[in-house]
């Protein structure tokens, strides 16, 4: 947390809230994204490990979940250990995941027939404790189910990513329902910048943190995962003067 000033009163209050939530023990550190503009605004300077996180796509991405899958793969790629990926229908393309940084040898796929089995498999993976991360394509995620997953992840220290993906775009309104997840992200695609020659440049995402426990929401324009799972800051933003780069300062800082 480079930009955050340490306030003992606030820290004590946070501890008290954590105890009231009964999550069992402190969180196990955080995984920084390697993008200062993003990490600075996250409560722990990165994505909290050993917790449940939600990722969904925006627009048509709510149905195909392609950008969300790359975002999740990028996070999983930077965590050590094997990754369990539970899906209802197998439409992930492993070469594409590899280009987001997740090598095929590291992913164990589970093709469960319905949402209930997917959640059960995800919980099983989170409880085991030997995995680096567990990703699951789920449509409906109730408060109870997400709480179970979150506690399972807390107990074993495994990070869970619920990749919310719906059959129809109309069902995506379900994303507004509260869950026990630590953070909730929405990744939508944006038009990329033009190259001087015909062709496609690196994909551009609008990464929105819709909800974060003990943190504030924000949105940020970023470049998609590279071959090692790292997000990039667009050149136009990265080259801004330092004073402007911080954007909106959070009230807690």
């Amino acid at each position: 947390m480079p930009a955050r000033s340490f306030n003992p009163a606030l820290a004590a209050l946070r501890d008290q809230i954590a105890r009231m939530e009964g999550d069992g023990g402190p969180t196990r550190g955080a995984l920084p994204f390697g993008v200062p503009a993003l990490d600075r605004r996250l409560p722990q300077g990165g994505l909290a490990l050993g917790c449940l996180h939600e990722v969904a796509g925006g627009g048509n991405g709510a149905v195909d979940g392609a950008a969300a899958a790359c975002f999740a793969a990028g996070i999983a790629a930077r965590l050590p250990g094997q990754v369990l990926w539970c899906v209802t229908q197998a439409d992930l393309f492993a070469p594409g995941l590899e280009q987001a940084g997740l090598a095929p040898d590291r992913v164990i796929h589970v093709e469960a027939g319905d949402d209930v089995s997917v959640l059960a498999c995800m919980e099983e993976g989170l409880r085991h404790g030997g995995l680096g991360a567990v990703v699951a394509d789920v449509a409906r995620l109730s408060m109870t189910a997400s709480r179970r997953l979150h506690l399972a992840g807390k107990a074993s220290g495994t990070t869970g990513i619920a990749l919310r993906r719906w059959r129809r775009q109309a069902d995506a309104a379900d994303f507004g329902q509260p869950t026990a997840a630590m953070t909730r992200w929405r990744v939508s695609v944006l038009p990329s910048t033009a190259l001087p020659v015909p062709g496609l440049s690196r994909a551009r995402w609008l990464v929105e943190l819709i909800r974060a426990r003990a943190g504030e929401s924000f949105d940020l324009e970023l470049e998609a995962c590279d071959g090692s799972g790292h997000l990039g800051l667009p050149a136009a933003v990265a080259d801004r003067p330092a004073a402007a780069a911080g954007g909106r300062r959070s009230a807690l800082a």
């Binding site: 627009g59 070469p95 594409g96 164990i108 589970v110 469960a112 030997g130 496609l200």
Partner: protein
């Protein structure tokens, strides 16, 4: 037919003396193979058959039809020509397999009664003398017997005839005594009072697992497949089969896997015998664990894989490995989740989508031939203007696999629409020669 007559009919005929004992032993070996791979309850049906209780085992192979296909297919690969039928009763299956199956026959539940009448009397598993006697009386097919009064038949041919008829129609029970070959590691427990509660079953599964693991340890074996057989008081057998990705003899883990399946056991009026067998056991010697001082031991995932595989099926848990093929659908192969790391990935010089559609979907486009990307595409009823594009990436058909792909070509483009969504589309054909493809456009994947 005498040998001399047969030799006259077929020149160069090889004659081998009949060896019923060896035939029976060979049939038993085949039954053991079926027991290990297909179903926990298998018995020999001499002289030339094997009877399988497929209840609770067919879904592991993707349904009854798929199971029969797999069974006959694998037998054919090892040189055994087999015919198979599934029916409600042992008698009906026996008759249909021998007189109806070509080479498989699937009898819908409850239709056995309408399928049996046209079959010959020999299908009823009767002694030859009885069949001959019935033929003398003018009975040729099973249907001729069904309408007859039973008493005179029983008086003349004994109770055997009516019993076989009832068994074929499923009106008399005919339990299958499961094959238990020598050397099979089995532990069992009989109960003075039948048990039925799930907690009680779980407790005794735990006790049996401890015994079984002790037996396995004596022989330095680990279980790869476990069968739990529950004999009910009404002589019905309920089965639970679990598979393991690696040989195991940890009682806790085996108990956990078996207890996950207790809900599939229907105890009826109670279970009087529980028996646990290690149907497939493989050598498992004790070995030294990696020391923490030198290296961090890799997490053991076999327990998790077993739990998942027994929940969703063995084939639904897998890892993906690269296959050297440029055709996207063929570039990925499924391997076992605990297989050795492959190490290699896919070639990295062309971006690949994160999601690949199960099959390419036709789209409408407007494009300049032969090598320009489309100006717009219409997919699932939505028209999108193509703002930027990259391509073509030409993928040639694999002529060494199929003749139809001799000159087939696909040209892949990456396109981005106004909203920034990126798609992977291709045109079948090279844009000039219609022989290389239909020149229709398809959408194959979505980039993240």
């Amino acid at each position: 037919m005498p040998v001399s007559k047969a030799q006259a009919l077929v020149p160069g005929l090889r004659v081998a003396p009949a060896d019923p004992a060896e035939d029976a032993a060979s049939l038993e070996r085949l039954a053991l193979w079926v027991l290990q791979r297909f179903s926990p309850i298998v018995a020999v049906d001499p002289p030339d058959g094997i009877v399988i209780d497929s209840t609770g085992a067919d879904h592991l192979h993707g349904g009854e039809a798929a199971m029969l296909e797999a069974l006959t297919g694998r037998l054919a690969m090892s040189g055994v020509t087999a015919r198979a039928a599934i029916a409600d009763s042992w008698g009906a299956a026996h008759a249909l397999a021998r007189h109806r199956a070509a080479p498989v026959f699937l009898c819908e539940p409850g239709t056995g009664e309408s399928l049996l009448p046209p079959l010959p009397l020999a299908a009823l598993r009767l002694p030859p003398a009885t069949v001959a006697g019935l033929r003398t009386l003018g009975f040729v097919r099973i249907g001729d017997l069904l309408g007859q009064p039973r008493a005179p038949l029983a008086r003349r041919f004994g109770p055997e005839l009516c019993r076989r008829l009832d068994q074929a129609l499923g009106q008399a029970s005919e339990p299958i005594e499961p094959l238990r070959p020598n050397g099979l590691i089995e532990v069992r427990r009989s109960f003075a009072e039948p048990i039925a509660a799930a907690e009680t079953i779980a407790r005794y599964i735990g006790k049996l697992a401890v015994q079984l693991c002790a037996a396995l340890e004596e022989r330095e074996l680990g279980a790869r497949r476990l069968d739990l057989l529950c004999w009910r008081v009404d002589s019905n057998i309920q089965t639970v089969r679990v598979g393991l990705a690696q040989p195991q003899r940890d009682p806790k883990r085996l108990t956990r896997l078996l207890c996950d399946k207790i809900e599939t056991i229907s105890p009826g009026f109670g279970i009087e015998i529980l028996s646990l067998t290690a149907t497939i056991a493989e050598p498992l010697a004790a070995r030294q664990a990696a020391s923490r001082l030198i290296e961090e031991p890799a997490a053991d995932l076999s327990g998790l894989i077993d739990v998942l595989a027994n929940r969703v099926g063995v084939r639904a848990v897998y890892r993906l490995a690269p296959v050297p093929s440029d055709v996207p659908e063929r570039s990925v192969a499924r391997i076992a989740p605990l297989a050795e790391p492959v190490g290699a990935g896919w070639p990295d010089h062309w971006p690949r989508p994160a999601r690949l559609l199960p099959r390419p979907e036709p789209i409408e486009t407007m494009a300049l031939l032969p090598d320009h990307p489309p100006v717009w595409i219409a997919w699932r009823g939505i028209r999108r203007r193509v703002r930027r594009a990259d391509g073509p990436e030409r993928v040639f058909g694999e002529w060494w696999k199929r003749d139809a792909e001799l000159i087939a070509v696909r040209d892949y483009f990456r396109i981005e629409d106004d909203g920034g969504e990126r798609f992977w589309i291709f045109r079948a054909g090279d844009g000039e020669n219609l022989g290389t493809g239909s020149h229709r456009w398809f959408l194959h994947g979505v980039f993240g």
